[in-house]
């Protein structure tokens, strides 16, 4: 028999025991040489790694390699054959990006703080790389000594900083913004100190100032404007910046005023006004009459292809049909009706604007090849991401829909596209699709190829989103239904937002693949980044270097981009709390 036991005073919580940092020797013994077998593995793999590094370094320092070819062709890599007398337009585009980046940094406040030890760890890895180069590289003796000394000094400096800051370095007390600002400043200093004749010094300095101005403006606004409205505005500015940069600034469009006012304007104004009337009517109607009106507009959207009308009219009627179908769900209240009418006004203006500007000629000297290099790669990647997202979501919803027609169409599309290699899609988009379009409508090759990548990517994105939709527990559907929500409301407000959050990693993987796949457009004749790497050597007047240096440089640049995408997605996941909420 045990006697009963009662704790008279319940204890208050105690701080956790202090974690002792293991020394380097202990760590090495524990992790690398724990057992005889693991010691052998460590030694063998270590030797292999060193040999691999030596192999890479011997390639890099081979006297036959002329890395000079990369900086000499920097402008080609950046913009391809973009007219050189108009390079200022590229810099203005970059300044817009810098400005919006500065603004966003102020508005979203990267709340992350980093620690001194994390920063010194970064510098320490640089020091280790320098030391490895100094020891292993087959370069001249003086070069190796210089590198060794530089690496040793850097290593000593990081250790010294760590020692002086001591345990406090573990605290996250360095604002991310400061790190970003220092990195920009360091970049500018290095650029000005490098002993090369460089025309980018002044434009980059201006860009940094523009970014700073954007940041200060953002700080000024965050104290005076509601954060929600400000963030929505900045997001809108980012979305608008893409067409502004690529359609206006870099293209300098010259609109054919006669065609637009004579042939297009009556259609644009007519359908615009008709849309206002239709959406108001549908939102005030009961279900039967709304159904009849919607059936009529869907028939009109199909019928308009049979008649000879401008392409812009067809696109607008299609858009009107989509909005009109959504009106009974979202536009039945007076505020809903107002929102639907605003959406129609914005969407109709945007579509007609795209057609007017898209059909315009360019004021620049060259016609078809003014987009090239990294500039074109980014246009294709960002454009395809922005466009394939809504299409992919619609396809996913169609495929999970209970309506057989939607399901059949979406499934058919996804299975068809996924069964075709991207290269085939690109050839069809670039050379084949013209046969199906009216002769009066002759889009730019860049637009056709962008369309091809978008259609391809949308099919894969649809499958990712569908996976997310299937991961939503049935209880979520039941709770939404029990509250009286319609299917459309349930999808837009409950299941789709959760599904998108769940598949962020898959979507980022898709975006990375899409970014790299843009290199395939080289084969259908567009001079994007990879094509430049392939073509600079045969095309330059004096022979420097070989294609090998250029391909390795291109691979490195693609890696830098995709690695950063993947880092950004990890941050986004943490921020949205995927898996914790």
């Amino acid at each position: 028999m045990t006697s009963p036991r009662v704790t008279a005073d319940l204890r208050p919580p105690e701080p956790p025991p202090e974690a002792s940092q293991p020394g380097a020797v202990v760590w090495i013994r524990h992790n690398l040489f724990r057992t005889p077998a693991s010691s052998v593995v460590t030694v063998v793999l270590g030797v292999l790694i060193l040999l691999a590094i030596r192999g890479v370094l011997s390639f890099v320092f081979d006297p036959d390699r002329q890395w000079d070819v990369i900086p000499r062709n920097a402008t080609n890599y950046a913009v391809g054959t973009y007219p050189r007398e108009n390079l200022a337009r590229i810099w203005i585009s970059l300044d817009i990006v810098f400005f919006l980046t500065g603004l966003s940094l102020a508005v979203w406040k990267p709340s992350g703080r980093t620690s001194v030890s994390a920063i010194t760890a970064g510098f320490r890895s640089v020091a280790v790389v320098l030391l490895l180069v100094g020891v292993l590289a087959p370069a001249t003796f003086s070069y190796r000594v210089e590198t060794l000394v530089l690496g040793a000094v850097l290593l000593a400096a990081t250790l010294l900083v760590d020692r002086t800051v001591g345990t406090e370095s573990l605290a996250r007390d360095v604002p991310m913004l400061g790190v970003i600002a220092s990195a920009v400043a360091l970049f500018l200093v290095v650029l000005w100190l490098l002993p090369i004749d460089d025309s980018t010094r002044i434009p980059f300095a201006i860009g940094a100032v523009v970014g700073l101005v954007g940041h200060l403006l953002g700080r000024f606004l965050t104290e005076r404007v509601a954060p929600g409205a400000l963030r929505a505005t900045v997001t809108g500015l980012w979305l608008v910046s893409l067409p502004v940069i690529y359609l206006h600034i870099q293209r300098n469009p010259v609109v054919d005023v006669d065609t637009v006012t004579g042939e297009w304007l009556p259609w644009i104004v007519g359908i615009g006004a008709g849309g206002v009337v239709l959406i108001s009517l549908v939102s005030r109607s009961d279900r039967e009459r709304a159904g009849v009106l919607n059936a009529l507009v869907v028939i009109a959207a199909a019928a308009v292809w049979a008649f000879s009308v401008p392409m812009v009219a067809r696109a607008m009627v299609l858009l009107l049909a989509a909005l009109s179908l959504a009106t009974p769900t979202f536009g039945s209240s007076s505020s809903g009706r107002r929102n639907m009418l605003i959406t129609w006004a914005v969407a109709a203006s945007f579509v007609s604007y795209l057609f007017v500007i898209g059909a315009a000629g360019t004021g620049l000297e060259t016609r078809n090849e003014y987009f090239g290099g990294m500039n074109l790669t980014i246009l294709l990647a960002l454009g395809a991401i922005a466009l394939s997202f809504p299409i992919g979501i619609l396809l996913a919803l169609g495929r999970t829909s209970t309506m057989p027609v939607f399901r059949l169409m979406s499934t058919g599309y996804v299975e068809l596209i996924r069964g075709i290699p991207l290269i085939t899609v690109l050839f069809i988009a670039r050379f084949g699709i013209r046969n199906f379009l009216p002769a009066s409508f002759d889009p730019d090759p860049n637009v056709l190829v962008l369309g091809g990548i978008t259609m391809f990517s949308a099919a894969y994105l649809a499958e990712n989103v569908r996976g997310g939709l299937q991961s939503i527990p049935t209880g979520q559907y039941e709770a939404a239904k029990a509250l009286g929500m319609t299917t459309a409301q349930m999808t837009m407000l409950i299941t789709l937002p959760q599904a998108l959050r769940a598949v962020i990693p898959a979507i980022v993987g898709q975006i990375i693949a899409l970014f790299k796949d843009t290199s395939l457009v080289a084969i259908v004749g567009l001079a994007e980044f990879f094509r430049i790497a392939r073509d600079v050597v045969p095309n330059q007047p004096a022979s420097i270097g070989s294609i090998l240096e250029n391909l390795i440089f291109a691979a490195f640049v693609y890696w830098i981009f995709t690695y950063n995408f993947s880092r950004a997605s990890q941050r986004l996941e943490r921020r949205l709390g995927v898996g914790t909420r």
Binding site: R287, S332, S333, G336, P473, G475, Q476, E478, A479, A480, K481, A482, L483, G484, M485, T486, Q489, L493, I494, P497, Q498, R501, G577, T580, R581
Partner: protein
């Protein structure tokens, strides 16, 4: 046999339902009056949940009639959405929307289904959160709350739609004992305010204290139905006696 009120809120007439070959409901016939609190008990698999899920058409019955507040359930979509917005439901697993804050969970359906202005919805949500005793949790996400708190938010979310009938599908079965009480207290308070309630539960204390009527179900049918006194002092059917002897 409605006890309270003079209006029939739910009329079920020979309701039958099959899952494949298995017959889940073998003809349920009963009437529930306005303001009545009915507790449904019975072993698992007896059709309790299936029945109340038929009342807001989360399950579709195949034979018989169900009339809710004068509207017969049919395949007409408008009827279903109308009835669902009049009938609140609280689930065993809460089913809060994890991507929205507590406040947004309660205001969402008000603004989109009831078309209430945002401020009015928020005021309503806050007053309901106070009623269930957790106004300080409004800005948190469901994942940060205890089970009992989550279930009370789910209750507030349903009540925000001003339902005329509340269905409870084993609301305390996923909770530990200390949390069961806080949810039952909120339900008692709701019963005393005159809400028509249909509660599937194993909480016999709640049945004894709050119910106007207890229904015992087994094998997809109503075996015995009566006042709590009748049930806990003088059950008639052998199956009822056996069930009660095992859980009391």
């Amino acid at each position: 046999m409605s006890v309270k009120g003079n209006k029939d809120m739910i009329v079920c007439d020979d309701v039958k339902k099959w899952f494949g070959e298995f017959q889940a409901l073998r003809g349920i016939t009963t009437t529930i009056g306005e303001g009545e609190v009915v507790v449904i008990i019975g072993p698992s698999g007896s059709g309790k949940s299936t029945w109340i899920r038929c009342i807001n058409r989360l399950e579709v019955h195949q034979e018989g009639r169900i009339v809710v507040d004068g509207i017969e359930l049919s395949s007409d979509v408008r009827n279903i959405e109308k009835i669902r917005s009049e009938v609140g439901m609280v689930f065993q697993s809460f089913n809060l929307f994890p991507h929205l804050t507590v406040l947004q969970n309660i205001t969402l359906a008000q603004t989109w289904v009831r078309k209430r202005p945002k401020r009015e919805s928020e005021e309503k949500a806050m007053s309901l959160l106070e009623r269930v005793g957790i106004p300080e949790q409004a800005a948190k996400f469901p994942g940060q709350l205890s089970g009992g708190q989550q279930q009370r938010v789910a209750l507030a979310r349903s009540l925000a739609m001003d339902p005329r009938i509340m269905l409870f599908d084993e609301p305390t079965s996923a909770l530990d004992p200390e949390m069961i009480k806080e949810v039952l207290d909120a339900m008692k308070e709701l019963a005393n305010s005159g809400m028509t309630m249909l509660v599937v539960t194993h909480e016999m204390g709640f049945a004894r204290e709050v119910a106007d009527r207890v229904i015992f179900m087994d094998q997809g049918q109503i075996v015995e139905e009566g006042t709590p006194e009748h049930f806990f002092t003088d059950p008639q059917h052998d199956r009822t006696k056996l069930f009660l002897s095992q859980i009391l």
